[in-house]
Amino acid sequence: MSAARSARRFDPHRFGPVVGLLLLLIVGTALNPDFATWDNLMNVLTRTAFIGIISIGMCFVIISGGIDLSVGSMAALIAGGMILLMNALAGSVGSPVAVVALGMLFALLLGGGFGLAHGYLITRGRIEPFIVTLGTLGIFRALLTWLADGGAITLDNDLSDAYGPVYYGSLLGIPVPVWVFLLVSVAGGILLNRTAFGRYVQAIGSNEQVARFAAVDVDRVKLLTYGLLGVCVGIATVLYVPRLGSASPTTGLLWELEAIAAVIVGGTSFKGGEGRIAGTVIGAVLLSVISNILNLTSIISVYLNAAVQGCVIIAVAFLQRRRP
């Protein structure tokens, strides 16, 4: 395209996460040859899918200058809610496939609804997003714990069999969740970079006042970013539930931190305004590769796992830091 664009493209800092990921891949292969196998890579990508999909929604929220701390709890509550619904429908609706389809639809609607509720409280209620979502973080998980009586909510067996392929199935040798992750990533990238909505999100995060004076409907755009994130959480949950077929108070624990970390490690500014979907995807993969490598070796004391992860995250953030 233009000179400055290509100049920016050659900015080494932009490639921090990619460089970090490549280094990790090399280290992983060196430590354990099984790391570089197709099966292991698919395992890692599949388990990244939930966090990755949520991260893409989170990317929009963070670019717009917001934050959502509730995504993990929201996923847990959606998981619990959809399992309860599917179990209840199993009697009245004949085909397990139809029940599962209804459950999935319900999850997406519930996610979108929760997200819009956040957006509504933040834009109309004029409450800080940090506070709104910190509040719902507690509320969602509490509701799930209540629904589950402190234990687990488990999907009926025949439904589990009908639903299983959504997580365990493959298409052209690539697991379904990875396909979905890919689709959501591409859609997210297009939405952010090639639509008016995406531009508005960036404009609001960069300077909300300027956007408002430039006739951008700031409240509506913000509302939609939270709704979008909610739908992403819904999609992630739809993929998550068939894995274990259950939801418990530990479901989605800390997902919010992982999702936010993936976004920031991927080069999105925590202050908002500027962000990258591709970076976010790489950030999410990078985070799960770290723990994969740690699981595949025992050269480092298990007590130090967290320290290794912390060092890698800081190192990657350093590689992609902005010049002042």
Binding site: S206, N207, F213, A214
Partner: protein, 512 residues
């Protein structure tokens, strides 16, 4: 006791932009110097170099004959040089006493000695005539009181040279009088004073000599008593006004005839504007004059729906419209470019293209945004508005004048019938100013209605077909082109005794 300051060949560059081109002059001890110049003449930059906020790119600054380099404002303060900022630099949430000792706290061991600080603060405050408790939060002070606190703070630091940048911007006449009394007393105590102001009557009243700068250069210095105001103005502007402005007698299509393009009736923005009515005709440039706080900006923010309105109607091209958001205004053919360019006008960290097309993205969506189409819009704008700078850089990389041109281009992208510009030439150099004036005239000639809100009377007089003057939230007068003069506008802006407060500038730049 007093300080003798000598500037010798001072230059200053901000990136590629050179704002000072080798300035040389002296400040004599114990005198009050009026430093004059238009916006962008380099007065503030030079004074910030003197007070240690900026470093000169080249040249020498000498204090009492000794060359010095101030790395921080602290270094300058040690030599007794204190700058009182145009935007007062006090922390709102701290008390008066805490602010006065900020960074210079008195300690007793590890702890702060609040009692001693309070006592010394009270002492200094009494000397400047500040009568409130030093434990008052600065947030609760009015601007004039903050000013006194700043001066008292400077005295605490044993200031030998005090720089005041537009100190009377937000003061009432009686507060001004008190300040002038204080300046007189400081001078008697041997303090050297640099007084920056656009208000020539004040300069005439309190300074011993005037120093004029223009376009980053020293122009002239002369004893105040020998320099009539007219001479000061001519030195500042440096050219005949007629050069700056386009020919006003462009045939316009009968402003008095037909339906007005925009008609506002009885509009009230609580706290800011009351019962404001006016018409704007196609091809007309309508000015809005008034003091700070007269409610001009807020009136238009109210019209755009950014502030609550409690009454009144707006019609555009004869249709009543209900404008609740800037978006609704845009759809009805009205756009508004704020006076706060960086805070409300442009995304300075974003590219030129993204800024330009933000309001009209729908035109470039098919349905996905087409970078090529946006690029064409930018090329067109760069050519037709004369925007100079790297078209692929960020808006922040442009000079003030080019940023303003980009902002104007941005708010013209939706092709408004009515275009409102608030302080269109603030922080813009003289060349770009002229471009903007001609651009405004061109927009009017195309049959748009243009509203210019400005604090620069010369601008309103040179540009507008009619000027509405606001005073105390209300329209106090509508002055037609043939009666436009500084005296007339000021008389309506301040309401009474027009003779005492004549200057080139009745507004200020100190809006928060």
């Amino acid at each position: 006791m007093s300080l003798h300051v000598a500037f010798d060949g001072i230059t200053k560059e901000f990136g590629p932009v050179r704002v000072l081109h080798g300035v040389s002059f002296d400040l004599h001890p114990g005198r009050v110097h009026g430093l004059l110049g238009e916006n962008g003449a380099g007065k503030s930059t030079l004074m910030k170099i003197l007070a240690g906020y900026h470093a000169a790119t080249s040249g020498t600054l000498s204090i009492d004959g000794e060359p010095v380099v101030f790395r921080t404002s602290r270094d300058a303060e040690k030599r007794g040089i204190v700058l009182i900022h145009q935007e007062l630099s006090l922390a709102d949430d701290l008390t008066v006493a805490q602010n006065m000792f900020l960074g210079h706290e008195i300690r007793r061991g590890w702890l702060l000695d609040d009692r001693a600080m309070r006592a010394r603060a009270a002492d200094a405050l009494r000397q400047v005539g500040f009568e409130r408790d030093p434990d008052t939060k600065v947030r609760d002070l009015i601007v004039a009181e903050k000013q006194l606190v700043e001066i008292a703070k400077a005295q605490l630091r044993n200031a030998r040279l005090l720089i005041m940048d537009e100190p009377t911007a937000s003061l009432t006449p009686s507060e001004c009088d008190r300040l002038f009394g204080l300046i007189e007393r400081l001078r008697r105590d041997g303090v050297t004073i640099v007084y920056i102001s656009h208000k020539l009557d004040e300069v005439e009243r309190i300074t011993d000599e005037v120093i004029v700068m223009r376009d980053g250069r020293f122009v002239a210095r002369a004893p105040t008593a020998e320099t009539p105001r007219q001479r000061m103005a001519t030195l500042m502007v440096g050219r005949e006004l007629t050069d700056m402005f386009p020919d006003k007698h462009i045939p316009i299509r009968g402003p008095a005839l037909g339906t007005p393009l925009m008609a506002v009736r009885g509009l009230t923005v609580p706290g800011w504007a009351e019962d404001v009515s006016f018409d704007l005709h196609p091809g007309e440039i309508l000015g809005f004059a008034g003091l700070v706080g007269a409610g001009r900006t807020e009136l238009f923010e109210g019209i755009l729906g950014l502030r609550p309105r409690s009454g009144g109607t707006v019609e555009i091209e004869g249709r009543p419209v209900s404008l609740r958001t800037p978006r609704a205004a845009m759809r009805n053919g009205l756009t508004y470019l704020s006076e706060d360019r960086k805070g409300k006008g442009l995304h300075v960290t974003m590219g030129l293209r993204d800024n330009l097309t933000l309001m009209t993205l729908r035109h470039h969506a098919r349905p996905l945004l087409s970078p090529a189409s946006e690029e064409r819009a930018l090329e067109h704008a760069v050519a037709s508005f004369g925007i100079r700078g790297n078209p692929q850089g960020t808006a922040a990389s442009l000079s003030g004048g080019n940023q303003q041109k980009l902002a104007i281009a941005k708010f013209l992208e939706p092709d408004p019938r009515v275009f409102v510009l608030d302080e269109p030439t603030r922080g813009v150099d003289v060349g770009a100013k002229r471009d903007i004036y001609f651009l405004i005239a061109r927009l009017a000639a195309e049959g748009r209605g243009v509203i210019v809100i400005s604090s620069e009377l010369i601008e309103l007089i040179g540009l507008c077909h009619r000027v509405i003057v606001m005073r105390g939230r209300r329209v106090s007068a509508t002055v037609p082109a043939d009666r436009l003069s500084e005296e007339e506008l000021i008389a309506h802006a301040i309401g009474t005794n027009a003779g005492t407060n004549i200057g080139t500038d009745i507004g200020t730049n100190a809006r928060p």
